[in-house]
């Protein structure tokens, strides 16, 4: 199974995934990213008034992202 790396970008801060997750296909990786974004948005948006959250998928640990799966943002006032 190929390994996918999921970088989480919260506002301007990128947490690089150095471990990755083995998944059957890019489709599965997309689904996982979508689910993770929903999970994490609940936490991030609860504690911040202004935030953006994005997940990028890479197929190599030091490669460029192959897909920006999801992005969500919240802004009050």
């Amino acid at each position: 199974m190929p390994r996918y790396y999921f970088d989480i970008i919260e506002n301007d801060h990128r947490s690089r995934d150095r471990e990755g997750v083995d998944l059957p296909s890019l489709d599965d990786a997309r689904r996982e990213a979508q689910e993770a974004l929903a999970d994490m948005a609940a936490e991030v948006f609860r504690r911040s008034e202004n935030a953006t959250l994005t997940i990028e998928i890479r197929t190599e640990s030091d490669g460029a992202s192959v897909e920006v799966i999801a992005s969500a943002s919240i802004r009050t006032n």
Binding site: I8, S15, D17, V21, E32, E35, A36, E43
Partner: protein, 246 residues
């Protein structure tokens, strides 16, 4: 086929001794209630939802999980059991399993016929209360998981679970200098926390970065217990570690 040895039953008696003192006669009654020991491979269902088991299962070595599945195939682990834990003592009065139990790792288990448990309830009132206590502890752990899932962040919830597993392993005499076995995969950890794989992976990376724990090849090492406990807002009073007459 053989009965479990006293040595294999040590974690079980340790979990009781942490909460109460039982007499030699009660000890012997529990030993003689044990049926055959069995070795089962990882990933084997021990009991399935809808089953009507005639035995309860005691873990002698390894780890098992209680789980339920939902329509889209998602799985929620609702309990983790290690050596010394009864995985389905409640199946004696409940009769029908409302969830499944599977082995996480290779396990040795002992089956205890419900007829033997019935005999204990009829002959040993204090021992009956001790067994009742063990099922109540399951309930208090479930409550704590619910609070953690409902009100803690993923980071806190994960730290809380590591704290709980460490304390439970310690009670059963399964820790060695801050190290204990936690043979879960990341997916199974996510199933226990109710988190997606990616979120679990990220949360674990963040927890490792605090240097409170290390977790490799199924072995957890507690590096900074105070920090881990604080991260997880862990208060072990729900594990009822007080040896008093029940």
């Amino acid at each position: 086929m053989s009965k479990p040895t006293e040595d294999e039953l040590r974690p079980f008696f340790a979990t009781i001794a942490a909460r109460d003192t039982i007499s030699d006669e009660e000890h012997r009654a529990l030993v003689s209630a044990m049926g055959d020991r069995r070795v089962i491979a990882a990933g084997t269902d021990i009991a399935r939802e809808g089953d009507r088991p005639l035995v309860s299962t005691l873990v002698l070595t390894g780890m098992t999980a209680r789980y339920s599945t939902v329509e889209d195939g998602g799985r929620q682990i609702t309990g983790l059991h290690l050596a010394g834990d009864f995985v389905d003592l409640h199946s004696f009065p409940l009769k029908i399993m409302d969830h499944s139990v599977a082995s996480i790792s290779r396990c040795t288990i002992a089956v205890v016929p419900h007829a033997e448990l019935k005999h204990i309830t009829e002959q040993f009132p204090h021992l009956t209360r001790v067994l009742w206590l063990l099922t109540l502890l399951e309930g208090s752990i479930h409550r704590q998981w619910l609070v953690a899932k409902g009100r803690l962040t993923a980071d806190e919830q994960m730290a809380h679970l590591f704290c709980e597993q460490y304390v439970k392993a310690g009670i059963a005499g399964l820790t060695e200098g801050g190290r204990f076995a936690l043979p879960l995969t990341q997916t199974q950890l996510g199933d226990a926390l109710g988190l997606s794989i990616v979120h679990t992976n990220r949360t674990l990376q963040r927890l490792r970065r605090t240097h409170a724990i290390e977790w490799q090849d199924g072995i957890v090492e507690i590096l900074d217990w105070d920090m881990l406990r604080e991260l997880g807002q862990f208060d072990g009073s729900y594990l009822h570690l007080e040896s008093v007459p029940r």
